[in-house]
């Protein structure tokens, strides 16, 4: 078979390996190589799109830890992103613009918020949890809005480009490499979390909380841990967002952003790191795809007015369609396609492995 040897492993190292077949290793190597040489061929616009996707993927992976693995639905994701971005803004206002300080500070603020949300969230389930996180989102935005109107300029806070000693991170290509590398790191972190003790505990809690507790998982501790990991990573994404845009304003972190992140993990496929990345790419690239499509159609006059509602509507329609028709998301489609190719001309895997 082209993928994986099933459960037959002869060494512990083989069992621990992240990438278990030669084909996968080759494919991954090829992907990394392609990402490294991409700036030689692609336009700055393309590079920017990839960078944006990588940044969105960090946020989506973080949300996936919480919603996909631990099963705790959060509508407050944009609030955590805002918290990270505004941590950076506060530090910049106090003349401490170094990212070496801002990124850990954002992670700390995020982790703190995660504890603050996670502990009351232990009592809440389903709808109540979703609404609680939604309320939290509004409260965080309110705090950020107060900061913005009292200390920052009324419209927002400008962030200088990150500076490491004498070297300044700016320009599309530098940002492309930085964000793609960070996206890759967070991907590895999230995959490793998923297969660690915490990840397994989260999945058990997601599937059935009482059963998880009865096999000795400390449900309260792991739920709070999920909130802490997720919000810390999300805040880091927010800080990066602030640096990349070079500007922080409350208007960028509305309720719609939270919905976009939920859409990323749902369209990608809940509970799968690959899904979160695919979903991030899908949701980030969709508006540009529609732009390109409309430009290609050459609609005469007044098309600009319809572009925004068209993007908005297409997003809503696709999210509803995925929710209803493909709850497994893009990753479900990918798995089915892969199985179809591998198993063809058969339809199902053999029940017993051929001896």
């Amino acid at each position: 078979m082209a993928f994986g040897g099933g459960y037959f492993k002869t060494t512990y190292a083989g069992d621990l390996a992240l990438i278990d077949t030669r084909l996968r290793r080759a494919a991954l190597g090829l992907l990394v190589f392609a990402l490294i040489v991409l700036p030689r061929f692609a336009s700055p616009f393309m590079l920017d799109l990839v960078a944006q996707t990588a940044l969105a993927a960090v946020g989506a992976l973080a949300l996936n830890l919480l919603t996909g693995l631990a099963g705790q639905v959060s509508l407050g994701h944009a609030g955590f992103i805002a918290a990270g971005a505004f941590t950076t803004a506060v530090l910049v206002e106090h003349r401490l613009p170094s990212p070496l300080l801002a990124l850990p500070a954002a992670a700390l603020v995020g982790a703190g918020l995660g504890v603050i949300v996670g502990i009351p969230a232990l009592r809440l389930k389903g709808l109540y949890l979703a609404l609680g996180t939604l309320a939290l989102h509004h409260v965080v935005l309110y705090a950020c809005g107060e900061f913005q109107s009292h200390w920052g300029a009324n419209t927002g806070v400008s962030i200088p480009p990150p500076r490491f000693g004498a070297w300044v991170l700016k320009g599309t290509i530098a940002w492309y490499y930085a964000l793609t590398a960070i996206g890759g790191l967070v991907l590895v972190l999230s995959v490793n979390l998923q297969r660690s003790r915490a990840g397994r505990a989260w999945m058990a809690i997601r599937d059935r909380e009482i059963a998880a507790e009865s096999v000795g998982i400390d449900v309260a501790r792991y739920k709070v841990l999920a909130f802490v990991w997720s919000s810390a990573l999300t805040s880091v994404a927010g800080a990066l967002f602030a640096y990349q845009r070079a500007f922080v304003s409350v208007e960028a972190f509305g309720f719609f952003l939270a919905i976009e992140y939920i859409a990323m993990v749902i369209i990608g496929g809940l509970g799968s790191a690959l899904g979160a990345v695919l979903g991030a790419a899908f949701v980030t690239l969709l508006p540009y795809g529609i732009d390109a499509g409309v430009a290609a159609l050459r609609v005469p006059g007044g098309a600009e007015y319809y572009l925004f509602p068209l993007k908005f509507g297409a997003f809503g329609l696709l999210m509803a369609a995925f929710l209803v028709f493909e709850p497994q998301g893009l990753v479900g489609i990918w798995r089915r396609a892969r199985n179809w190719v591998v198993l063809w001309p058969l339809r199902y895997r053999p029940l017993r492995p051929a001896s």
Binding site: G126, Y128, G132, G316, F325
Partner: protein, 235 residues
């Protein structure tokens, strides 16, 4: 088009827009409540896009267009409110009494409460709970559309009006999700906090005050002031 026809049309739109998620809900594998929330939100996004596409993205004031006025009225005691404010109170009261009568007295309403409490048991007694869920979505949509009509006439019509609906969550949860009687105290509390925070705080604070009420209520009594206490699940 005549005025009543327009209003009827708006109400009908609300109904169709809310029957769809009810139908959609049954295909989704996630926990039903969350799926319903997400489908509602996405349909809200869709509807908003549709409104901007076929109508306008500009802020409108429908009253002059309809040729109506909204004169201020002086109440006994010296308070001054607009006519539509009074109308809103009257509509809310009528709706409340109507819903109360429907849920308490009519067979359909009693079936609806049964289906809400235990869908499985209700289905076994021959209640078509899917139809009832669709009906409840339609009722909710109708009430929401009424609120939208009144708000648009009283304040302004603007495509991002839907954000207002988020406040309704706060009211419903503070009062208790499964308690119709809790709606009025819930609404009064949330509204009072909002008015007080405009008076003593600032407008930004007033915007989040419903959510602050919600956050204050959730850790203490997640089921709300008058809701049914939920049974704890423990090992």
């Amino acid at each position: 088009m005549a005025r009543p026809a327009l209003m009827l049309l708006a109400a009908l739109l609300g109904v169709t827009a809310t029957v769809t998620p009810a139908l959609a809900q049954y295909r989704i594998g996630m926990s039903a409540a969350i799926a319903a929330v997400l489908v509602t939100i996405t349909l809200g996004i869709l509807l908003r896009a549709a409104i901007v596409l076929v109508y306008t993205d500009r802020i409108r004031h429908p009253l002059p267009l309809l040729g109506l006025a909204n004169p201020p009225r002086r109440l006994p005691g010296g308070a001054v409110v607009s006519t539509f404010d009074l109308l809103t109170v009257a509509v809310a009261a009528t709706l409340f009494v109507g819903l109360f009568a429907f849920l308490r007295l009519s067979p359909l309403g009693i079936q609806m409460r049964a289906a809400g409490e235990k869908p499985l048991l209700a289905a076994q007694r021959g209640i078509n709970f899917q139809l009832l869920f669709a009906l409840s979505w339609a009722l909710a949509g109708f009430a929401g559309a009424l609120a939208g009509i009144l708000y648009a006439n009283n304040v302004r019509l603007d495509p991002s009006l839907g954000v207002l609906g988020l406040k309704a969550f706060a009211v419903a949860l503070v009062g208790g999700l499964d308690s119709l009687g809790g709606v009025i105290p819930g609404a009064l509390i949330v509204a009072a906090v909002e008015v007080l925070s405009v008076r003593y705080g600032d407008p930004l604070l007033a915007d989040v005050s419903p959510f602050l009420c919600l956050l204050a209520m959730l850790p203490v009594r997640p089921w709300g002031l008058f809701g049914t206490r939920e049974e704890l699940e423990r090992v």
